[in-house]
């Protein structure tokens, strides 16, 4: 599903602030896998995620999504396969537009945006029914501007938006980092439900070790631009919080 071959990324090459964010990464992520990506700051997690979405193009190596080479493909073109939720709740939604407008764009993520009015009564009903599943009472506020909602509500809606159109890959970049524990729980449960329901291949970055243990069926730890540990579901299941905590100690 996602395949990295000898991926390296160097920022500011040849300058004093040169950083090698990724160092010869070789990685295969299979269809339907829910990968949790952990690692200290600067280990290359976000850069790795960004090479999947196309926000960062690698310096070397090649990337395949669904057996197609996408190494040089721009971000908006890769959106045919990839949906993402950003760390910043503002990143995944347009704040001045209504919830309805945001969902309309999400429903056309893989299609062209034509010169016709696509928001009709049946579309409104679809959005309302979908939002009602969250149980946040937002289904009656679809005309409200996205920016008037809380961070947790926006993250939950961003997750729902990713399922408005066909998706193969879901990228979650610390989606709960800016949220209170309760909202974080709601967002992660929504994510898990969506991932299972749509059989999405998921890469989930988190600094929360409890979350890392609780969710996902594969755990990868990155360190200085390389994959340091790669645990499958069985090995991951045997891990304790103390094990993970110790990984970050040295």
């Amino acid at each position: 599903m996602i395949s990295f071959q000898h991926i390296s990324k160097t920022f500011n090459r040849g300058k004093v602030n040169e950083v090698q964010a990724l160092n010869d990464i070789n990685l295969e992520i299979n269809q339907g896998e829910f990968v949790v990506l952990i690692g200290s700051n600067g280990s290359g997690k976000t850069t790795l995620l960004n090479t999947i979405s196309g926000a960062v193009l690698p310096s070397q190596g090649s990337i395949h999504l669904l057996d197609q080479e996408v190494t040089k493909l721009s971000e908006h073109k890769r959106s045919r396969w990839v949906a993402r939720v950003f760390q910043d709740p503002l990143g995944g939604t347009a704040p001045e537009l209504s919830i309805l407008d945001n969902f309309r764009l999400a429903a056309l993520r893989t299609q062209s945006k034509k010169l016709r009015i696509g928001i009709n009564d049946s579309f409104k009903k679809t959005v309302r029914d979908k939002i009602a599943l969250l149980g946040m009472g937002l289904e009656d506020k679809i005309q409200q501007a996205m920016g008037t909602l809380s961070g947790g509500q926006r993250q939950a809606l961003t997750l729902l938006m990713s399922t408005m159109d066909h998706t193969d890959i879901l990228l979650l970049d610390e989606p709960t980092a800016a949220l209170d524990p309760n909202s974080a729980e709601v967002v992660m449960q929504t994510a898990e439900k969506i991932i299972q329901e749509h059989q999405l291949t998921t890469v989930f970055i988190t600094h929360d070790l409890q979350e890392a243990l609780k969710y996902g069926d594969r755990l990868i730890q990155m360190h200085r631009g390389k994959v340091l540990r790669d645990f499958d579901a069985k090995m991951k299941g045997a891990l304790t919080f103390e094990d993970l905590f110790a990984w970050f100690k040295n």
């Binding site: 045919r80 993402r84 503002l90 990143g91 939604t93 347009a94 309309r104 010169l115 016709r116 009015i117």
Partner: protein, 289 residues
């Protein structure tokens, strides 16, 4: 009375430009000052077309096309070469001065005894009422078309682009392409103002566009202040309020002139007026803190 009706008509003529600046400034958050050039460009194309005896519809199409091309040029310079939007606008605007002069052939073309859109209606005895209704109908249709465009799926994508670029990229939208299209539409609208003004004042002058972007900016700020104050969400209503801003701006200038202000001081007054619109709310906010 006639004096203020003329100001009203003048405001209507400039409303198309106001709508264009609303698109760049409020929707795309791009400071575009190609306006000065594309406004004169529209008027220059109109002058040549009228003298050649083309139909008004054809002249309008040519004006729109010319304005759109100016906008596309600014858009290309801004997005492809990653040059600051303000500088990209200045580059194109400056270049357009020579283009406009070439189109006109000389610095001023009078447009008497030629076709004129404002003579299209003859319902009332007083010509100013006929002219006003032409302006109202023309801009009513134009703003309704623009409101429709902004409500389509494409329009939602346009509005989102200026709002959150990370979101629109993730939604499969090519932000650069969208900005180029936005600048094309905005400058086409500005050229329509040039088209109307040339016929309203019966001449096209190479210098008629100097500082016009400031007039548009001030007008949009007035309209936007009203929109925020009244909490208007409806798209067409918002566009109508932007047009109201353009009219109020011209009214204010007309009042200044009626008070005996020297017309040579008009640009300075415009500047001070826009400064007041931008500055006073900030001063009030500072006191509130």
């Amino acid at each position: 009375m006639i004096f203020y009706l003329s100001a009203l008509l003048l405001g209507l003529c400039l409303s198309a430009m106001g709508l264009g600046i609303f698109i760049t400034m409020k929707i795309f958050k791009i400071p575009d000052i190609t306006t000065d050039g594309s406004y004169t460009l529209g008027a220059a194309v109109t002058a040549i077309g009228l003298i050649q005896g083309w139909s008004l519809g054809l002249i309008l199409l040519f004006s729109i096309g010319a304005g759109a091309m100016a906008g596309i040029l600014t858009g290309l310079v801004h997005t492809r070469l990653k040059i600051d939007a303000l500088l990209a606008g200045i580059l194109v605007m400056t270049g357009l001065y020579s283009v406009n002069l070439t189109i006109l052939g000389r610095s001023n073309i009078p447009l008497n005894n030629v076709n004129n859109i404002f003579e299209a209606l003859s319902i009332f005895g007083n010509p100013i009422y006929n002219e006003l209704w032409v302006g109202i109908l023309f801009l009513g249709i134009l703003s309704a078309l623009l409101a429709y465009l902004l409500r389509t799926d494409f329009g939602i994508a346009m509005r989102a682009t200026g709002n959150s670029e990370s979101m629109t990229r993730a939604m499969g939208i090519n932000n650069d392409r969208m900005k180029i299209i936005g600048l094309a539409i905005a400058n086409a609208l500005t050229a329509i103002s040039g088209f109307l003004m040339a016929q309203y004042q019966n001449f096209t002058d190479i210098n008629m566009g100097i500082g016009i972007v400031l007039v548009g900016l001030g007008s949009v700020l007035i309209g936007d202040a009203l929109i925020n104050w009244l909490g208007i969400q409806h798209l067409w209503l918002r566009l109508l309020f932007i047009m109201l801003g353009c009219i109020l701006f011209q009214m204010a200038l007309a009042v200044a002139l009626a008070q005996g202000v020297n017309p040579n001081m008009l640009k300075l007054i415009t500047s001070i007026f826009v400064l007041a619109i931008v500055g006073i709310p900030r001063l009030i906010k500072r006191e509130a803190l």
